[in-house]
Amino acid sequence: MSKPKVAFFEFTSCEGCQLTVVDSLQTNVELLDAIEIVQFREAMSEKGQDYQIAFIEGSCTRPSDEAVIKRIREQADIVVALGSCADLGGINAIRNYQDLDDVRHYVYGDKADWYETYPARPISAVVPVDAAIPGCPIDRNEFIAAVKEVLQGRMPQIPDYPLCIECKLKGNVCVYLRGKTCLGPITRAGCDAICPTYGDSCEGCRGMVSSPNFEYMRIVLEEHGLDFEEARAKMTMFLNYQMMELEQEAANDNAKA
């Protein structure tokens, strides 16, 4: 592909992933030669509508954004979900577990009705997505690698094995041995296990591997002192949308049986 035209969009997010894209220039200035950025509201005024690749940051959290997302899908050949909010619903989906009206009133009081919102969802719940670069925020190396993969004429690939693999390649002392808990065993690798490397537990921001053993993950968390609710909270900082889907599936199965 010769110099593809690329656009960046953001919906409900902190824009940290786009900032990470900007930061990736620090070590990869060549990026500016390799692609043509036609739209990047955070960093430029031009707004080109002619693009082949769309990177979408952020979750969809209100009905009116759906039309915009669909227009992007129609224009772009390749749509990439950028970051956990876009890929998973991410941190925004925490509130899906809570009563939405209650949430709105908690923050906006009696003016809650002024602001349109609905449960947060990943972009893939609105339109088909071709690839994802998960993470909160994305890993800049993974972003750069993804761009190269697209230039090579293939879809960006992300690992489908657990974080523990990466964590052990780095020789980290498991944070469970430091008296903490960690979602590494069910979380998709690719961030270079940055959280355990810096002494903190993995919160699962990259999403789960495709066949996570989350029943036993929960048992492990409980064995390490978290009660059922705490274990659930731990597993839903970034994964609430997925967890609720899984719980829904299980409930449906039960209903059938």
Binding site: A145, L169, G171, V209
Partner: protein, 351 residues
């Protein structure tokens, strides 16, 4: 080549001397655990360590290693030939046995030049374990509690002194020019023998059967589906067990390119048979899809296949995997359970 005696007061000077001449690596405390890491002076070293997170295998078979570089139509192998030795200090004997197995694998059939170059650059200074390092180790069962060959230098703690067995010219070279060593006296021989006899009772046998029976036990247990299914249900498939194992060596190859898309590196990276896609092929068939099949593969590889393919048991009893596993799947429990199930006729029942 015999042994020499070095007093512990002189030992730090010797280590510091090595640090000036070579890259020295050894066990260092980190967050209540230990890791093998670069040592700049004797102070950083803790030879009384329990167990390191990763085995010293990482210096011979690094977690990630560039195998060759490519640029357009040219390719160039990257083999770590170096004049500067890496001296690994304080390697436990189980890890030494593991390196012995790795040596055999990498010289079998095709020679792996990358492995061998690093291996030749590495000087192994092992140490006799006098008490169990962790509650998870079962080296006595696996016959790795001591070592008679393969080391370049082997230390035995005699209290005030170290006995240093010289196993190779490389080992001898490490002592060269260091004045504060002496030839052993009769008393030194006696002391070494005493330490060696006294150490054995400190270790317990933890397997309930003789290790020589392991391959045949596993041959029968292959069909014990109920047991493997139970492990499969618990297993998180996180891959920690294989990634901390000193005898695991499976790998994946990945490419990294620059923006020209023409130039880059091919990188070898540790892989794990416990992850979903390890045996997945194009077309979607997975030869070891269920976690139970992967756990079975792991244990049979350790206790049977390696024995059949290379004449050495693939587990050295270090206990790392047992400590790492968050759902408590351990070789000792697994092997013992299979043994009992076999005796109670579970396997026949399955058939």
């Amino acid at each position: 080549m015999g042994f020499r005696i070095m007093s512990k007061t002189a030992f730090p000077d010797w280590v510091d001397g090595l640090c000036r001449r070579y890259r020295v690596v050894g066990p260092k405390p980190v967050h209540g655990q230990y890791v093998f890491d670069d040592i700049e002076s004797a102070e950083e070293l803790d030879l009384g360590y329990s167990q390191t997170v990763l085995p010293p295998k990482k210096y011979i078979l690094p977690p990630r290693e560039t195998i060759f570089r490519f640029d357009g139509a040219s390719v160039e192998a990257v083999v770590a030939n170096s004049d500067r030795w890496t001296v690994a200090l304080g390697v436990h004997t189980c890890d030494m046995h593991a390196i012995h197995l790795l040596d055999r694998v990498h010289e079998h059939g095709y020679q792996d030049q990358h492995y061998q170059a690093r291996r030749e650059n590495t000087v192994l200074v092992s140490i006799e374990c006098l008490k169990p390092c962790t509650p998870f180790s079962f080296c006595k069962d696996m016959g790795t509690l001591s070592i008679t060959e393969g080391y370049d230098l082997h230390l035995t703690d005699l209290g005030e002194d170290y006995a240093m067995d010289i196993g190779s010219e490389k080992g001898e070279a490490l002592l060269e020019g260091f004045a504060f060593i002496h030839e052993p006296t009769d008393e030194d021989y006696r002391r070494v023998n005493q330490v060696m006899t006294e150490k054995w009772p400190n270790f317990a046998y933890r397997l309930e059967f003789d290790t020589t029976e392991l391959p045949s036990l596993l041959t029968v247990s292959m069909k014990d589906d109920a047991y493997w299914d139970e492990l499969g249900e618990r297993c998180l498939a996180c891959g920690m067990c294989t990634n901390v194992c000193p005898t695991c060596y499976c790998f994946n190859m990945v490419d990294e390119v620059d923006f020209s898309l023409e130039a880059g590196d091919r990188i070898r990276q540790w892989d794990s048979c416990q992850i979903d896609e390890f045996a997945l092929v194009a077309g979607g068939h997975n030869f070891r899809g269920p976690r139970s099949a992967r756990q079975r593969h792991r244990f049979l590889r350790k206790g049977k296949y390696q024995w059949e393919a290379y004449g050495l048991i693939g587990c050295v009893g270090c206990g790392r995997c047992a400590q790492a596993c968050l759902v408590h799947i351990t070789p000792v429990d697994t092997f013992n359970a299979l043994y009992h199930r076999h005796r109670q006729g579970h396997v026949e029942e399955v058939r």
